[in-house]
Symmetry: C2
Subunit: 274 residues, 2 copies
C-alpha cells in the first residue's frame, strides 16, 4: 500500500484544515496516509520552515505530500507556492466567491476568538460542560428543568460522551440518566423523569456490541453476561416504546452522528456553532 | 445590518460543512448570518425538499442564501444545482485534484463510520473520555501513569473542558489536577505530581477574567474575591516557573486553541483525527 504524508497547516489551530482533509481522505481507501498537523504558522519565517519540511519529505519519500492549508493571512501562504506538493487551500478556494456574493471584503484577520462573541461562546460551552458533568449518570436530577435534552439508556450505551460532545461542540445542556435494574424490572419510567418526558431521548445499542464494551470494563460477573445485557436492552426498548421516547441505535454511529441526529430530530437549538 | 440565511447541508452529519462554513463566515464582520443546518440529506427526495426550502427563503427574504454543502454522493447534490443561492461544495472543489494526484477514484461512499477503523476511533475517544472523567479534578491520581498529559491550574482556569475536548476530539488521555490552597501556600509541587512532572502542563488566566468566572459560580465569600484570585494566580505562576512547567494563558483562547497548543508543544500524538 502506498503511503502519503499529509500536512495540515494553518495560521490558527489547524482544526479546520484537519476536518476538511480528513473528510476528503476517508474517500480514498487504497492509500495509507501519514498525518502531520502544523498549527500556528502565523509568520513568514514559520511558513518558510514548513515549506522546507514539506519539500524534504517529498525528496525523502519520493512522492509529493498532500497539503491542506487554511491560512487567513495571504502573506504566510506565499512561501508554500511552488513547493513539491499538492497544496489545497481552503480559504483561497472559497473566499473569492463569498466576497463577490456578499459584496464585501473579508477581514482576513486572525484570532476571531478574541471578540465578545467568542467570550460568549466560550462561556456557553463551559456552562454546558459543567452542566453535563454535574448531571452525569443521574448524579443530580434537580437541574433537569434547565436541560435542553435528557439522554437515557442502559449503562454503557454512549450517554456520557454524547452529552459532553453536545456541550463542548454546541453549548447544549444535556443531562443523562442511566436506567437502573429496578426501573427495568418494574418497566416503569422512573419518577424523576416523568415531568421531563418531552426532553427524553434514548440511546440503544446491539447486545453484541454492548457486551463487548462492558467486558472491557469488567470482565467478570453478571454486568457483562449475555443474559443480563439482553434482558436490559429488551426491557429498556420496551419502556421507550411504551412511552413514545425517541431512540437512536448507537452501535454503528460516531459521536458526531449521534449528536447531529438528536439535534436534528428534537429541534434543540445550538447555542454555539463550531 | 444585512441578514443572510446560511444553510449547511450534508448527506452526513453536517459537521464538516458547519466547521468550514463557520471559518469562512467569521471573516465577514459586517454581515449577520442566520445559520440553518440540514444533516442526513441522503436521498434525492430529501435533496429536492431542501432545494425548495432554500428557494423559498430566497424569495421571502429577497436575498440569495449561502449554502455550504459537503455531499459525498453526486446524485443528491444534483437538485441543488441552479437554485437561487450561492452554493459552495467542499467535496466538489477538492476531490478532483485529489483523484488526479493520487491516481485513484474516490469511493464516494457514505457511512465511513461503519468500518473497523472507526470502531477503533470510537473506542479510543470513549476510553479517553472515561479517563478524563475519572481523573477529573484530582479525583483519582492512581492512573497518572496512563495519562498522556496532566493539566494543572487553579480552580476555574479551564482544565476540565480542555481535558474533555482532548479526549473527545483526539482520543488523548488527559488528567487534571487542581492546585489546592495548601499547595499554593507552601509553594511546593504536590507529592502526587512529582513523579509525573514531565507530563505536566499548566493553565493560567488573568485575575480579572478568573474573578468574573468565579463570581458567576459563587458570588459570595473568599473564592471570588479579588485578593484571593490574585494570590492564587501569583503563587501558581511562581510554582510553574520554579519547576519549568509549560504554561498557557487561557484568557483569550478558545478551547480548540488551548488544546492545539498543548498537543503542538508537548508532541503528544493524536489517537484519533477529527
Amino acid at each position: 500500500m502506498t503511503e502519503r504524508t499529509v500536512f495540515f497547516v494553518s495560521d490558527q489551530t489547524g482544526v479546520t484544515a484537519e476536518t476538511l482533509g480528513h473528510s476528503l481522505l476517508t474517500q480514498f481507501d487504497g492509500v495509507e496516509f501519514k498525518p502531520v498537523t502544523v498549527p500556528f504558522v502565523d509568520t513568514v519565517d514559520k511558513a518558510i520552515q514548513v515549506a522546507r519540511r514539506i519539500d524534504l519529505t517529498a525528496t525523502q519519500s519520493g512522492v509529493r505530500p498532500i497539503v491542506f492549508t487554511s491560512f487567513v493571512q495571504d502573506e504566510v501562504r506565499a512561501p508554500l507556492v511552488g513547493i513539491q506538493a499538492l497544496v489545497l487551500d481552503f480559504f483561497e478556494a472559497f473566499l473569492a466567491p463569498l466576497e463577490a456574493e456578499l459584496k464585501a471584503q473579508s477581514s482576513r484577520t486572525l484570532g476571531k476568538a478574541h471578540g465578545m462573541q467568542d467570550t460568549m461562546s466560550y462561556d456557553a460551552r463551559i456552562d454546558a460542560t459543567n452542566f453535563a458533568m454535574e448531571a452525569d449518570d443521574g448524579h443530580t436530577t434537580r437541574h433537569y428543568d434547565k436541560a435542553d435534552v435528557i439522554l437515557t439508556g442502559v449503562s454503557r450505551s454512549g450517554k456520557t460522551p454524547t452529552c459532553l460532545y453536545l456541550a463542548l461542540q454546541y453549548g447544549v445542556f444535556a443531562a443523562n440518566y442511566p436506567l437502573a435494574e429496578e426501573d427495568l424490572e418494574t418497566g416503569r419510567l422512573p419518577e424523576t423523569l416523568r415531568p421531563f418526558i418531552e426532553k427524553l431521548y434514548a440511546l440503544t445499542i446491539t447486545p453484541v456490541r454492548l457486551r463487548q464494551i462492558r467486558l472491557e470494563r469488567r470482565s467478570v460477573g453478571r454486568y457483562a453476561s449475555a443474559q443480563q445485557v439482553s434482558f436490559e436492552l429488551r426491557a429498556a426498548e420496551a419502556l421507550y416504546k411504551r412511552h413514545n421516547i425517541p431512540v437512536i441505535d448507537t452501535t454503528n454511529s460516531s459521536i458526531e452522528e449521534i449528536a447531529s441526529t438528536i439535534l436534528n430530530e428534537t429541534g434543540v437549538e445550538r447555542r454555539v456553532r463550531p
